[in-house]
C-alpha cells in the first residue's frame, strides 16, 4: 500500500471544506473512519464522527445560502507510513436563509483544526480524529441586506 503523501492529506482537507461549504457533492460521512471521534466547534464533549457527519449534512448550505472558507497553510506531520496529522487555521463565513425568510450569518474568523488521517485497509484515506475550535467566539447574527 502506498504511503500517504502531503499532497494526499492537503487534497482531503480541501475536499472536507468543499463539502462543508456546499461546493462538493461528496458525502461527508465517507471522509471519516467508522470509529472516528470528533470535537466539533462548540461541543463540550467529543462524539462519534457518524453523529457529527449526520448533523453537519443536515446543516449544509442549501441553494439559498452562500459560504466562504479560507484554509491557511496546512502543516502535515507523518507518524508512520499510514498516519498523518494535518493542523491548520481557517476562516468560515456562511449566510443562510431560514424557513421564515430571515437571513442569518455565522462568521468564524479564527478557526483552528487538527485532523488525523489514516489509510484504511481498503486504501482510502480517512479522518480518525478531528478537533475544530475557534480562538475567538464565532459571530452569529442577522445578515445585512
Amino acid at each position: 500500500m502506498d504511503k500517504i503523501s502531503p499532497e494526499d492529506v492537503r487534497k482531503e482537507v480541501h475536499r472536507f471544506w468543499a463539502i462543508l461549504s456546499g461546493k462538493s457533492p461528496d458525502k461527508l460521512e465517507e471522509m471519516y473512519s467508522p470509529a472516528a471521534i470528533v470535537f466539533s466547534g462548540k461541543a463540550k464533549r467529543s462524539e462519534s464522527a457518524r453523529l457529527t457527519a449526520v448533523r453537519r449534512s443536515r446543516q449544509l448550505p442549501g441553494i439559498a445560502s452562500t459560504s466562504k472558507v479560507e484554509v491557511g497553510s496546512i502543516d502535515v506531520q507523518f507518524v508512520g507510513p499510514d498516519v498523518a496529522i494535518a493542523a491548520y487555521t481557517y476562516s468560515f463565513n456562511t449566510h443562510k436563509v431560514q424557513a421564515d425568510g430571515t437571513k442569518v450569518q455565522l462568521n468564524t474568523p479564527f478557526g483552528r483544526a487538527t485532523q488525523i488521517f489514516q489509510r484504511s485497509e481498503g486504501g482510502a484515506i480517512r479522518i480518525v480524529h478531528e478537533h475544530l475550535s475557534a480562538a475567538a467566539p464565532p459571530d452569529m447574527g442577522k445578515a445585512s441586506e
Partner: protein, 152 residues
C-alpha cells in the same frame, strides 16, 4: 517493546496534569517531543511546543500562580503499536499574579483536549501534537490583592 494500551495513555494524561498543577517544569517539558506542535487554548495559530513551554513557565509556573484541573472521561484511540490519541473534556482553574501585584482568576469549565502520543526510541511516551480549546468564551476576573504575608 510492548504495544501501547489505553491504560498507558490515561496514565500519561494524568501525569501531564499532575506535573502541570504541581509546576514540575522539567518533568512537564519532558512530556513533549522536541518537534511537537501545539494549538494552545487561546492562540490563533499553531506553534512549536517549546515556545508554548517558555510562555507557560513565565505565566503559570511562578510561586504566586495556581493551576488546578478536573478531567472528564479520557477516550483513547490506538492508531498503531506506538501511536495513540487521547481526547477528553476538562475543567481548568488558573490564578495568575502579575509583577504589578494584580491577581486574575480564569475558569475554563468546558475545556477540551486532544493529545497525540508516540513512543520515542527509548520507549517513553511523549506528546507529538496537542490541541486545547474551550467550548465557551473565557474571561479572566480580577481578584482582590493577596493579603501581605505575616512575619513568623
Amino acid at each position: 517493546m510492548s504495544n501501547i494500551s489505553a491504560d498507558d495513555i490515561r496514565a500519561e494524561v494524568k501525569k501531564f496534569w499532575d506535573f502541570f498543577s504541581r509546576k514540575s517544569k522539567s518533568r512537564f517539558d519532558e512530556m513533549y517531543f522536541h518537534s511537537a506542535t501545539v494549538f494552545a487554548a487561546d492562540a490563533r495559530r499553531m506553534e512549536p511546543a517549546r515556545l508554548m513551554l517558555v510562555r507557560r513557565e513565565r505565566e503559570l509556573f511562578g510561586p504566586a500562580s495556581l493551576v488546578a484541573a478536573k478531567l472528564g472521561t479520557i477516550d483513547v484511540q490506538i492508531l498503531g503499536a506506538d501511536l495513540a490519541v487521547a481526547s477528553y473534556p476538562f475543567h481548568l482553574s488558573i490564578t495568575r499574579t502579575f509583577a504589578s501585584g494584580k491577581r486574575f482568576q480564569v475558569e475554563v469549565p468546558s475545556g477540551r483536549a486532544t493529545q497525540v502520543f508516540q513512543r520515542d526510541e527509548k520507549g517513553v511516551l511523549r506528546i507529538l501534537h496537542e490541541h486545547m480549546s474551550s467550548a465557551e468564551p473565557v474571561s479572566p476576573k480580577e481578584l482582590p490583592p493577596a493579603p501581605p504575608s505575616t512575619p513568623a
